[in-house]
């Protein structure tokens, strides 16, 4: 039966309930449709954080435009006590406060779902679906009544709907007030007004709707000591812990917050108590070519330095990456991928810089690329990147993406072993240089002394008359002397290849995702980065349909030998990637000699994070009905 709202403020003809409202406990998707620049971000974060504090796994996605103010922006929150963190199609509850996008927004609501809107003005009839429940709240009217300052009216509108949600889906109000208190610690005068706004919404909802709805939350103890953090914060923090002292960068979405995080923490943790001076330097360069040049100069001179960028920056840095590869200078880059090519969709995610990074620059080059899937891995791999760059004297790219970098993710807490020491690699100091001479040995910058392709270097100024050498992008002999001799050149290129081989055992090993229920897997999946969330969920769904898969999450290029083993164990593999051209598949075939026929590409490249449904449907489609049978028999 359709209940007409009795809102004291306005009555919207459309404010009624559908025959059946969906029922769901702790498994739902709530989506906020806002206008950017209206201060909704803080309110929406508050919502997600509250769910998190109720012990429920939560995964928010910010879907924002490449502009600053006035365009539609969405915040999609998946809550799942099953622990699924991937995006899920279909919105159970849409908080639609942006008239521009309402037509689109209402279509996204699942049948029987809920549509919360500002009922100050009556609802446009085109928006009415008879299988959706409409929750009208006169947000504007309430704000007009409550606040004088037009900007406060706009700001608190957001807090009010969060208050309403607390009533509607049963968020513990104390959790919200506690969060407000935390947030405005020190600025106490801000606390009361925010709590008041929450109450306004809470009360309105409780008064006008029978709360809680069929979709609601209940406290659980499912997040343990996990944290809710963005990958860029974690990467920036990783650079702090790894001992990076020089950061050179050029602003670009979605990587900007990596260096911003580094600087934020450096201001707190890297000021010399005695002098108040900085134990770090951050330079906003004039462009990406300059940024990577500074990083290479600093690393050449014995500091740990890094830059953060995105696709266009990688293209601009490629000449310098070739220099660092060939001249063997360490460098650390964090590439937070966005949708390419060119400027593409700067505020959407993708995994399409893999080839550009692995083979960056003209000539024969190969670069170490690390592939994190979680904020914790963003932290760990960034730390590791500095050790690898120093040890192998070559650029190392930490390949993140917009989804991982800019969205909050539920992640294992960060850890640091205080016994850990930085591995600065093969660097000779004055004493060692003198010892060498005593042994009658001559220092050769590019001599493969240890037969692992990794040579010894010295820092400028290390010794008054020993160990100085000339670094260059041109061909040179083992003693760093310029040469155009073909054999010397080829030997050096072979050694660089050997060095890359050596790196295989030093990079992080892939992570296996076990088959569900102690079955034998009848197919395998290879993936990297943020595809892991959808694949984890898809493996459960597939198992439910009798398709048992195991999976391997690749963590680095060059490929660890475990990748080879995994591939050998399977006849048929799906390679899941968020790009158009199957870039990981290309690397697997060309670097490991895997028969392409063995690798089926499963691609997602529309800029939105991968969903489990997409994985399941593509795999089912590909297996086809009959295969599916045979698979089931096979069990």
């Amino acid at each position: 039966m359709s209940v007409v709202s009795t809102s004291g403020v306005s009555t919207s003809s459309a404010n009624f309930f559908a025959k059946t409202g969906i029922e769901s406990l702790n498994e739902l998707v709530v989506k906020f449709a806002n206008v950017n620049g209206t201060g909704s971000a803080s309110a929406n974060n508050l919502f997600a954080k509250a769910v998190f504090r109720m012990g429920l796994p939560v995964s928010p996605k910010n879907i924002f435009p490449s502009n600053i103010q006035g365009l539609p922006t969405w915040y999609e929150v998946r809550i799942s006590e099953k622990g699924y963190l991937a995006r899920r199609d279909g919105v159970d509850l849409m908080v639609a406060v942006n008239p521009q996008s309402m037509v689109k927004d209402v279509q996204e609501v699942v049948s029987g779902g809920y549509f919360l809107y500002d009922s100050t003005k009556p609802l446009d009839l085109r928006l009415i679906r008879d299988d959706v429940n409409y929750l009208g709240i006169p947000l504007t009217a309430i704000c007009l009544r409550e606040y004088k300052d037009p900007r406060q009216r706009q700001l608190f509108k957001n807090i009010i709907y969060v208050g309403a949600l607390a009533a509607l889906i049963n968020i513990e109000f104390e959790v919200l007030t506690e969060l407000i208190a935390d947030q405005f610690k020190g600025k106490d005068k801000l606390i009361a007004p925010n709590v008041h706004a929450l109450e306004l919404g809470y009360q309105y909802a409780s008064r006008h709707f029978n709360c809680p709805l069929g979709i609601r939350l209940e406290r659980r103890d499912l997040v343990g000591d996990r944290i809710l953090m963005g990958g860029n914060d974690a990467a920036g923090l990783g650079a702090i812990y790894a001992g990076a002292t020089v950061a050179a960068w050029y602003p670009i979405t979605p990587s900007t917050s990596v260096v911003e995080a580094f600087e934020k923490y450096a201001k707190r943790l890297r000021i010399d108590p005695g002098t108040g001076k900085q134990k770090y330097a951050v330079v906003q360069a004039e462009d990406e070519l300059s940024a990577i040049g500074m990083v290479i100069g600093a690393c050449w001179n014995g500091a740990r330095a890094f830059t953060a960028t995105s696709g266009p920056g990688i293209s601009l840095m490629s000449e310098f990456l070739g220099l660092a590869y060939f001249a063997e200078v360490p460098a650390v880059l964090v590439d937070v991928q966005r949708t390419g090519p060119s400027t593409g969709m700067p505020t959407r995610t993708q995994q399409s810089d893999l080839l550009a990074c692995a083979y960056a620059s003209h000539g024969d080059t190969k670069h170490i690329v690390l592939l994190p899937s979680t904020p914790k891995e963003c932290f760990d791999f960034t730390v590791m990147a500095f050790d690898l760059a120093d040890y192998f004297q070559t650029p190392v790219v930490v390949l993140s993406d917009l989804d991982l970098g800019m969205n909050d993710h539920l992640s294992e807490p960060l850890e640091w072993d205080d016994a850990r020491r930085y591995n600065r690699g093969k660097v000779l100091n004055a004493e060692q240089l003198d010892a060498l001479t005593e042994q009658g040995k001559r220092f050769g910058r590019y001599l493969d002394v240890d037969d692992d392709g990794v040579c010894y270097r010295t820092y400028p100024g290390a010794h008054p008359n020993k160990g100085a050498f000339f670094t260059r992008g041109t061909s040179r002999d083992p003693y760093a002397i310029y040469t155009e001799d073909g054999t010397a050149y080829a030997d050096n290129m072979d050694r660089l290849l050997k060095k890359f081989e050596t790196a295989k055992s030093a990079v992080p090993a892939p992570v296996a995702l076990p088959v569900r229920g102690k079955r034998k897997a009848n197919l395998g999946i290879i993936l990297f980065g943020t595809s892991v969330f959808a694949v984890e969920e898809a493996m459960d769904l597939l198992a439910g349909q009798g398709v048992y898969a195991d999976a391997l999450v690749v963590k680095a290029f060059p490929f660890h030998e475990d990748v080879v083993r995994y591939i050998d164990r399977h006849e048929q593999l799906f390679v899941v990637e968020q790009n158009r051209d199957g870039q990981l598949r290309t690397l697997l075939t060309s670097e490991l000699g895997v028969a392409p026929a063995k690798l089926i590409s499963l691609l997602n490249y529309d800029g939105m994070p991968l969903t489990a449904n997409k994985v399941v449907s593509e795999i089912q489609q590909c297996l086809g009905a009959d295969d599916e049978q045979s698979l089931q028999q096979a069990q």
């Binding site: 998190f52 504090r53 000591d225 996990r226 944290i227 809710l228 923090l237 702090i240 812990y241 001992g243 002292t245 020089v246 050179a248 002098t275 001076k277 900085q278 134990k279 770090y280 330097a281 330079v283 360069a285 004039e286 462009d287 070519l289 300059s290 990577i292 040049g293 500074m294 990083v295 290479i296 100069g297 600093a298 690393c299 050449w300 001179n301 500091a303 330095a305 000449e319 220099l323 807490p413 960060l414 850890e415 640091w416 072993d417 205080d418 850990r420 930085y422 010295t458 820092y459 400028p460 100024g461 290390a462 010794h463 008054p464 100085a468 050498f469 000339f470 670094t471 260059r472 992008g473």
Partner: protein, 350 residues
């Protein structure tokens, strides 16, 4: 192939304050053309470092790509060097300097390297007032790629390939002054009397020091329009369309008094008129320097000498307020906040 100086060491060679002879500041053999101005600059650098009693290993030499950028191999053999990529020496030097503020940074570049592909980096390293000596070995052409015009080539001058330059040259000293450089000078490769003291002053300057050194390219600044233009050998090479004949040339030297102007005849007979500011010139007024440059330009003269200096500016480290200890000397203890802090950071994300 030309030598900076004979390769034997005189027993009684004079030593400097720290007991080094001038030879200790030399590098490997130059592979530049005989008589190339760049070699004169290299030997001026050697003399300057010798006279300043600098420990060679405390110098880091950086460059881009070009004949000029090759020269760091030909001086200070006991210093680390970095021959980077074309036009990007400024950024690499910036990073190096940030990593270790205690070394002396000597950047060598060419007019193509700095005024064309590298103009953006040049402008921004000036703006940051990086503590370094930046020398442009300015021959008004692209030497290493066989003599194309550069952005500092004189208007209407014709190069060896017969291409006349239709564009106004960029005066890098002028640009450096505009962009706030704290030490700006110009000299001529063959004028050791002027060049060596300028290099010494520039090295001693705490901040960005720029020297634009006019350095004739004996091979490609070979202007057929000049009076010596009838030349059997050139015609021979022209008609065989091969420009691989490079006559052996003597280095061009000159010497003249402050306040005077001096005509220097280049290998092809063309003449540059150099001017030294009068004794009373006070290089502490940026605006005066800019006007002096324009005056000289309008008289078809090239103003040389120390044009401007700001005695005690803030360099990039002052601006960033970095620690006096070089950043590359800090270890885990100094840099890593440790697990306890990390756990409290975790809290802030819960």
């Amino acid at each position: 192939m030309s030598y900076l100086r004979p390769n034997f060491r005189h027993p009684a060679a004079p030593v400097n304050r720290i007991g080094f002879t001038e030879k200790d500041y030399e590098g490997s053999l130059s592979t530049l053309c005989a008589g190339c101005g760049h070699d004169s600059i290299s030997s001026a650098i050697v003399s300057a470092c010798f006279e300043l009693s600098i420990e060679p290993h405390r110098v880091a030499k950086l460059s881009g790509i070009g004949c000029s950028s090759k020269t760091p191999t030909y001086f200070l053999g006991n210093s680390h060097g970095f021959n980077s990529v074309h036009g990007r020496m400024p950024s690499v030097t910036t990073g190096a300097n940030l990593a270790n503020r205690d070394l002396i940074y000597l950047g060598v570049s060419g007019d193509g390297d700095s005024a064309s592909i590298g103009l953006g980096q040049f402008a921004h390293v000036v703006r940051r007032n990086l503590n370094m000596l930046y020398i442009v070995e300015n021959n008004g052409c692209y030497g290493l790629t066989k003599g194309q015009n550069s952005a500092t080539t004189d208007l209407d001058s014709t190069n060896k390939a017969g291409v006349t330059n239709p564009f106004d040259p960029i005066d890098l000293t002028n640009l450096a002054l505009q962009l706030g450089a704290t030490f700006v000078a110009r000299s001529f490769s063959g004028d050791k009397e002027q060049l060596v003291p300028l290099i010494k002053a520039a090295i001693s300057h705490r901040g960005f020091a720029f020297i634009d050194v006019i350095s004739p390219c004996v091979t490609f600044n070979n202007n057929p329009g000049s009076k010596k233009s009838y030349d059997f050998v050139r015609e021979h090479c022209e008609s065989t369309a091969t420009i691989d004949f490079v006559p052996m040339r003597e280095e061009i030297t000159t010497q003249y008094e402050p306040g005077t102007t001096q005509d220097v005849t280049l290998h092809d007979g063309s003449v540059v008129r150099l001017q030294k500011p009068i004794a009373g010139y006070r290089p502490d007024d940026r605006r005066a320097a800019l006007n002096a440059l324009r005056d000289a330009e309008e008289n078809g003269e090239i103003l040389t000498g120390l044009l401007y200096i700001d005695e005690d500016p803030n360099d990039l480290h002052d601006t960033l307020n970095t620690l006096s200890t070089p950043l590359n000397a800090l270890d885990e203890a100094a840099l890593c906040p440790g697990n306890k802090t990390l756990q409290s950071i975790n809290k802030s994300f819960q």
